[in-house]
């Protein structure tokens, strides 16, 4: 299966290891991955700020490029390691006009968030990963509530050798990022992160795992400021890991 990777602007510039891990997981599952370096951003930050004039050209650029990959570039699907950006392509249908709106519809139908792609499309749960540690999963809002992703990442994590997944009571609660929200209302945003982190500390986890680099930037930023020992890890980084598991892990 030939996959067009939409790596997302944030992961491209600030989490290249997770981007490479995404490629590695997809290739491990037998996919051929294509990356078009003309891609930049899906347009969501401006769209969520209400600035359509700024969002439209950026969103249109991403849509046209990805549409070309699925209609003429021989790609069977688009995979992105972010539920948030995947959800943006749905909004693009209403944001763009005419032929671009039709392209946005094709793109949004062909786009999968990583865990969604692995479990629903490829029907793969065990991707041969091993990662020793105790983790909790953070359901990123757009993946959870716009794409309906809930079981998929948990199934993938449970199949990872050496990994112990604990459920957090606040797993579905927003981390407080929300794009410009995080800098416009920093106190509220940090308070929202604290709500989650307070509970994570009681769970004794080594890491909080999420499918969105933006949530991780928010949670890690706050964890570090609090001096916590908990790390933020992207799902792809765990699924690509082949770390030795000592002791009597599963």
């Amino acid at each position: 299966m030939r996959i067009a990777l939409f790596v997302t602007c944030l992961m491209d510039q600030f989490r290249p290891d997770a981007a490479e891990a995404t490629v590695s997981v997809l290739e491990h599952c037998g996919c051929e991955v294509v990356f078009d370096p003309r891609q930049t951003c899906c347009g969501q930050p401006a769209f969520n700020a209400g600035l359509h004039q700024e969002a439209i050209p950026v969103c249109r650029g991403a849509v046209r490029l990805l549409d070309e990959q699925i209609t003429r570039g021989g790609c069977d699907a688009i995979v992105t390691p972010s539920g948030s950006c995947a959800a943006m392509f749905r909004h693009a249908i209403g944001l763009l006009d005419g032929e671009d709106a039709a392209a946005a519809k094709r793109v949004s139908e062909a786009t999968y968030e990583l865990s969604e792609f692995l479990v629903r499309r490829l029907q793969r749960i065990d991707v041969g990963a091993s990662w020793p540690g105790r983790v909790a999963w953070h359901d990123a809002c757009h993946g959870l509530r716009e794409l309906g992703i809930k079981r998929e990442p948990r199934q993938l994590l449970e199949a990872v050798d050496g990994l112990e997944l604990v459920e957090s009571a606040t797993c579905e609660r927003c981390c407080g990022f929300g794009g410009t929200f995080s800098v416009n209302l920093p106190g509220v945003s940090v308070g929202m992160a604290d709500d989650k982190i307070d509970e994570l500390e009681t769970l004794g986890v080594d890491a909080i795992v999420s499918g969105d680099a933006s949530c991780l930037m928010q949670l890690e930023g706050r964890l570090e400021a609090r001096g916590s020992r908990i790390r933020g890890v992207h799902l792809a980084e765990i699924l690509a890991a082949r770390e030795s598991v000592t002791g009597n892990g599963s």
Binding site: L5, C9, M11, D12, Q13, R15, P16, A19, E20, V33, V34, F35, D36, P37, Q39, T40, C41, G43, A46, F47, A49, G50, L51, H52, E54, P57, V58, G61, R72, G74, C141, H142, R145, E172, R173, C174, F177, G178, G179, T180, F181, V183, N184, L185, P186, G187, V188, S189, V190, G191, M192, A193, D195, M217, Q218, E220, G221, R222, E224, A225
Partner: protein, 505 residues
């Protein structure tokens, strides 16, 4: 709307609206540790109760679609239903009044009070009454209004607006309530909730007996029977609507439903969504004043149908969704932002997610342009909404209107200079962003600058103050660690660039 007596109205108004002070109110709320503790505890309790109550429903999705369909249908034929309601209610002996705006509604109530020489009015909790500022108007006219809902009575004594649609005193802890009552009533108070409730009960019971006028809202108006339903737990609404000689109910026009049987699904879902109860303790269906055969009940009933900017929302399918709201407040209880700042910070009697859309829609963007920004767009509100209002969708729509103005209505989005400057700065930032995102080379260059900035600021944190959006970020958060390279500059990305080397077809 073409109903008799109501003119096609423009924007409405909300009493004591100070939503434009949002930026000042938020830090004040965040600094209030007591408030945040009270909110976390109370919202956790209610949201858990709601979740448990809904687990017991097999056909939850069906019930929600039914509730949504009932409200959608009612709003699609709002004018017809309102006229049907008026005809039937009038036949039942209820005097129906039309109020295009808040001022008209207030003067109708005051006229009734004046004509009947009312000195004391008991009040059932009503958001519409708060919206039109009825209490202040009554006081100015020499009528003493006494709130009889426990929470509403507490905030009235504290001279505060309610901070939650359903639980007006949710922001207060028991200690605070005890001290308040001790001060106002000038005697020692018990410590426990039951004891304090007993005090309230005794204080209020006398008022019911003395009042000539009872004022309530209404949860639903039934067109086919001309009756209206009130839902409550404390019994104070039953007393307010049956003991005083005159009963005046004020209701937004969107409260209409077509049929009596529509109440079934709506009551099933509203009590579960609101308080997590399968049914509330009291449901009072008012269908007319007391007849010659009855001993109890008011001699006169007035029902005021309030527009106050609502019919304008019907012009657009998305904003019309807002009128489906049945005021259950489930969205407040799950909102992570409301949980941090509480209701008063919104500066509107309608707080939380529904308030963040309803307030600017009713009062105009110029009066509340910051409220649509009071959300991370997490979607928890839409998830719990029993009538499936796309609150995040409306928030996005309003942000767009705030940013670009609404040329169709000429609604000037911003009024205060600070908000205007903030918006201008944001637009400047996003213009630069658009340019940066317009080509792969510029994107790569800006990414490199971003990583460099992150490195510098992580070493010299005091520099963050001058680093634009980073200034807000570093308020309590570490800057992201810079990986020192981008994905696209690495070997893996270069290997994947098949498009350039080996284009297919």
């Amino acid at each position: 709307m073409t109903a008799p007596g109501s003119e096609s109205s423009g924007a409405g108004s909300i009493h004591h609206l100070h939503a434009n002070q949002f930026d000042d109110l938020v830090p004040r709320a965040l600094a209030n540790v007591e408030l945040r503790g009270a909110l976390a505890k109370a919202t956790n309790t209610i949201r858990n109760r709601r979740a448990i109550a809904l687990e017991g429903i097999d056909d939850l999705q069906e019930l929600r679609s039914r509730a949504k369909a009932i409200k959608t249908e009612a709003l699609a034929h709002l004018d017809e239903h309102l006229e049907t309601f008026e005809r039937h209610a009038t036949a039942n002996g209820i005097k129906v009044h039309w109020a295009a705006d808040a001022e008209t509604a207030r003067s109708i109530v005051l006229d009734i009070a004046r004509m009947n020489k009312v000195e004391l009015a008991v009040k059932a909790k009503s958001m519409v009454s708060e919206e039109i500022g009825l209490n202040d108007a009554l006081i100015d006219a020499g009528v003493v209004p006494v709130e009889t809902d426990l929470g509403e009575w507490i905030v009235q004594l504290a001279e505060e607006p309610p901070s939650h649609i359903l639980a007006p005193a949710i922001h207060k802890r028991r200690r605070e309530i005890r001290d308040l009552l001790a001060r106002v009533l000038d005697r020692p108070m018990p410590d426990d909730a039951a004891g304090l409730t007993e005090v309230a009960r005794n204080e209020l019971r006398e008022r019911f007996a003395q009042a000539d006028l009872g004022i309530s809202g209404a949860n639903f108006l039934v067109a086919e029977t001309g009756s209206f339903l009130l839902i409550e737990n404390e019994g104070n609404i039953r007393l307010t609507t049956s003991l005083p000689r005159i009963h005046v109910a004020v209701a937004g026009i969107e409260k209409i439903v077509a049929r009596l049987e529509d109440l079934g699904p709506l009551v099933r879902i509203i009590t579960r969504s609101a308080t997590g109860q399968p049914i509330s303790c009291y449901q009072t269906l008012v269908t007319g004043p007391k007849t010659s055969l009855e001993d109890d009940g008011p001699e006169e009933i007035h029902l005021i149908l309030l527009d106050n900017g609502r019919s304008k929302l019907l012009e657009d399918d998305l904003t019309a969704e807002t009128l489906r709201c049945i005021r259950c407040s489930a969205c407040l209880n799950v909102c992570p932002v409301y949980r941090q700042i509480g209701g008063h910070a919104y500066g509107s009697v309608y707080p939380g997610p529904i308030g963040a859309i309803f307030t600017p829609l009713i009062a105009g963007m110029h009066a509340a342009s910051q409220l649509p920004g009071a959300s991370s767009l997490c979607g928890a509100c839409r998830e719990v909404c029993p009538v499936d209002i796309d609150i995040p969708g409306v928030l996005l729509h309003l942000r767009h209107r705030a940013a670009e103005g609404d040329r169709s209505t000429g609604d000037r989005p911003m009024s205060d200079p600070r908000t205007m400057e903030k918006n201008r700065a944001m637009r400047r930032g996003f213009r630069l962003w658009r340019w940066a995102m317009g080509s792969s080379r510029r994107f790569q260059m800006f990414g490199a600058i971003g990583r460099l900035l992150a490195t510098v600021v992580s070493r010299v944190p005091s520099l963050a103050r001058h680093a634009g959006p980073l200034a807000g970020w570093t308020d309590g958060r570490a800057v992201p660690r810079s990986p020192g390279r981008s994905f696209r500059s690495g070997a893996v990305a270069r290997r994947l660039r098949l498009e350039e080397q080996n284009p297919r077809r």
